[in-house]
C-alpha cells in the first residue's frame, strides 16, 4: 500500500465528511445563498451563453488562428522603434493574449529578448484586461461604460507604468545583453482588409444579437438601507405600492425593490435610431450571417476553418467550466445583483468596505485584486456579485484593473524573471494606478 497517496485520499474523504457533518443546511442565510447561487447561474445560462459567450469564443478562436502574431511581435523585438513599441505593447494584448497563459512568456520574452523593460511591463499590465473575451464579457455583464473604461484605462495606464518602470531602471537597461528571439514564421495570408471585414462582421453579429430593448423607466435605488452605492435599472414599471416598486428590467428579469431603498423613478427618453435597430436586429443578424458565411467559404481554406473551429472549441473547453464555478461561488457568497438579494456575506459589509467612491474603498479594491487569483474571465461574475452587493463603480474598475494583471502566484513568476526590486515597484505602481483610475471613473459615472 502506498501510504502517501492513500493518506491524501483519506484526508479528502474526511474533509468532505466533516463538511457535510457540519453543513449549515436549514440555516436561512445558507439556504438562501444556495438558491441565489443557482438562480444566478440560471440567469447566466439564459442570458449570456448563447448570444454572447459562444460568438465571443468564435471571435477569440479566429483571432488566435487568423491574425498573424508574428507581424505584431516584430514591433516588440530588440531593434524595434521605442516609441512605437510602447504603443504596440499597450494594445497588442487584444490580439496576443487571447489566452491568459500566454501573457507571462510573452512578457518575459519582450523583457529579455525584445524591446525591454518598459514595453514589457506595458504589455503585462494591459494584456489581461484588453483581450477580446474579457472586453466582451465586461461590457455585456457589468455595463458598457465599465467595459470601455477597463479597456481604455488599461491601455492608457500601461503606457504610464511602462515609462515609469523604464525611467526608474534606465541605467540597468542599457547594460543588459540582448538575446536573439526566435520569431514565429509569418504565414502568407489574405489581405488585411479581408481579415478586418471578417472580424467586423463577427463583432457586429455579436453586438446586434445582444441589442437590448430600451426601457420605459429608470429606477435609482440604494444597495442597502443607508448604503453608499446607488444602482440604476432600466425597464418597465410593473407595479408601485407604498412598500415595493416592481420593475421588469430589459433582460426580462423582475425585480422587487423596497421603497426604503428607492431614490426615484425617472422616465427614459427614447432614441428613434436605437428603437429601429432593436426592431430590425434579427434581420441585421441574418444579413450579417449570410455575408459572414460567404466570406468564410470563399476566402478561407478548409484546413484554416478546421483550425479555427478547433481553437474556438479549445477556448470553450478551457473557459466554460471555470466560469461556471466562478458564477456559482459568486452567487453563493454575494447573491444576485440588485436590491434585496444577499448571499452568505452580508451586503452591509461589502458596502462599508468598498461602497461609494472613497480613496479607502478604491485602495482596498486594488490591493485585494492585486493579490487575489482570478481564473480567466471569472473576475467578471465576481465583480458583478460585489457590485450587486454594494461595491461602487470606481472600486469595481480598480479591482478589474489590478485583478487579472496580478495575483500572488504570478507575482512569484514575475519576480523570477525580473527580480524582487522591480517586482515590488511594479506591483506598487499597478495598485496606485488602479486606485487613481477607480477614483476618476467613480467620480464621473
Amino acid at each position: 500500500m502506498d501510504w502517501k497517496s492513500e493518506s491524501k485520499k483519506f484526508v479528502w474523504i474526511a474533509a468532505v465528511f466533516l463538511g457535510f457533518f457540519f453543513l449549515p443546511a436549514g440555516v436561512s442565510r445558507f439556504d438562501n445563498a444556495v438558491t441565489e447561487s443557482l438562480e444566478l447561474t440560471k440567469w447566466y445560462a439564459r442570458e449570456h451563453v448563447l448570444l454572447c459567450l459562444i460568438p465571443a469564443f468564435f471571435i477569440a478562436g479566429g483571432i488566435s488562428v487568423f491574425v498573424s502574431q508574428a507581424s505584431v511581435m516584430k514591433y516588440l523585438g530588440a531593434r524595434a522603434n521605442k516609441v512605437l513599441a510602447y504603443g504596440v505593447a499597450s494594445v497588442s494584448g487584444s490580439v496576443l493574449a487571447v489566452c491568459s497563459c500566454t501573457v507571462l512568456p510573452l512578457f518575459a520574452g519582450i523583457y529579455r529578448m525584445g524591446a525591454g523593460l518598459g514595453p514589457a511591463t506595458a504589455f503585462l499590465y494591459s494584456g489581461p484586461a484588453i483581450n477580446v473575451l474579457a472586453i466582451i464579457m465586461t461590457a455585456r455583464i457589468l455595463g458598457f461604460e465599465i467595459g470601455v473604461a477597463r479597456a481604455v484605462g488599461a491601455v492608457a495606464f500601461s503606457i504610464i507604468i511602462g515609462l515609469l518602470m523604464h525611467l526608474i531602471y534606465r541605467r540597468e537597461e542599457s547594460a543588459k545583453a540582448v538575446g536573439q528571439a526566435v520569431m514565429p514564421v509569418p504565414q502568407v495570408t489574405r489581405p488585411l482588409w479581408q481579415n478586418a471585414a471578417y472580424f467586423a462582421s463577427m463583432v457586429c453579429i455579436l453586438v446586434f444579437a445582444n441589442w437590448a430593448r430600451s426601457g420605459d423607466v429608470r429606477a435609482v435605488f440604494l444597495c442597502c438601507p443607508g448604503g453608499l452605492t446607488a444602482y440604476k435599472v432600466e425597464g418597465t414599471l410593473l407595479s408601485r405600492t407604498a412598500e415595493t416598486v416592481t420593475i421588469q428590467d430589459t433582460t426580462g428579469k423582475t425585480r422587487d425593490v423596497s421603497a426604503e431603498l428607492m431614490l426615484g423613478v425617472e422616465d427614459v427618453r427614447k432614441n428613434a435610431v436605437y428603437e429601429w435597430v432593436y426592431r430590425l436586429r434579427w434581420a441585421l443578424v441574418v444579413a450579417l450571417l449570410a455575408a459572414f458565411a460567404y466570406m468564410a467559404s470563399s476566402w478561407f481554406s478548409r484546413s484554416e476553418l478546421r483550425e479555427w473551429l478547433e481553437a474556438t472549441w479549445g477556448f470553450a473547453k478551457q473557459i466554460l467550466p471555470l466560469l461556471l464555478v466562478g458564477v456559482l461561488i459568486s452567487g453563493f457568497l454575494l447573491g444576485q445583483p440588485g436590491g434585496g438579494h444577499e448571499g452568505v456575506v452580508p451586503v452591509k459589509w461589502i458596502d462599508a468596505a468598498v461602497g461609494g467612491n472613497s480613496l479607502q474603498a478604491n485602495l482596498l479594491a486594488s490591493v485585494a485584486g492585486a493579490f487575489m487569483y482570478f481564473a480567466t474571465l471569472t473576475e467578471v461574475p465576481i465583480v458583478q456579485g460585489l457590485m450587486g452587493a454594494g461595491m461602487g463603480k470606481g472600486p469595481a474598475l480598480a479591482l478589474l484593473l489590478a485583478g487579472p494583471a496580478l495575483s500572488l502566484p504570478n507575482m512569484l513568476v514575475i519576480r523570477s524573471i525580473m527580480g524582487t526590486g522591480k517586482t515590488v515597484v511594479y506591483v506598487s505602481l499597478v495598485i496606485v494606478m488602479a486606485t487613481i483610475s477607480g477614483i476618476v471613473f467613480g467620480a464621473f459615472f
Binding site: Q69, C99, T102, G109, P184
Partner: protein, 77 residues
C-alpha cells in the same frame, strides 16, 4: 535517440502539442524521449517568447502554435 522538448508553462495547448508529438514519434517508429520544459527562464534560454513551442534535438521547430502530428513527422525524419 531523439530528444523532443515541449516548451510551455502548462496551458492546454502545451498538452495538445505533447500529445501530437508523441503520436508523431510513435508513428515514425523512432526511439525518442519527450521532455516538458515548464520553467519560464528555461524557456527563454531557447529564445522562445510564444508558447507552446516544439524543440527537436535542441532546434526550435515551431513557436506559438500547435502543429498537427503530420507536420511534426516531417521534422522527425
Amino acid at each position: 535517440m531523439m530528444k523532443i522538448q515541449i516548451l510551455g508553462t502548462g496551458c492546454p495547448k502545451c498538452k495538445k502539442l505533447a500529445e501530437n508529438a508523441e503520436a508523431a514519434a510513435k508513428d515514425a517508429g523512432i526511439e525518442h524521449e519527450i521532455v516538458k520544459v515548464t520553467d519560464i527562464n528555461e524557456i527563454m534560454k531557447f529564445g522562445v517568447m510564444m508558447t507552446p513551442a516544439l524543440v527537436i534535438d535542441g532546434q526550435v521547430k515551431v513557436v506559438g502554435k500547435v502543429p498537427s502530428p503530420d507536420e511534426i513527422r516531417k521534422w522527425l525524419a
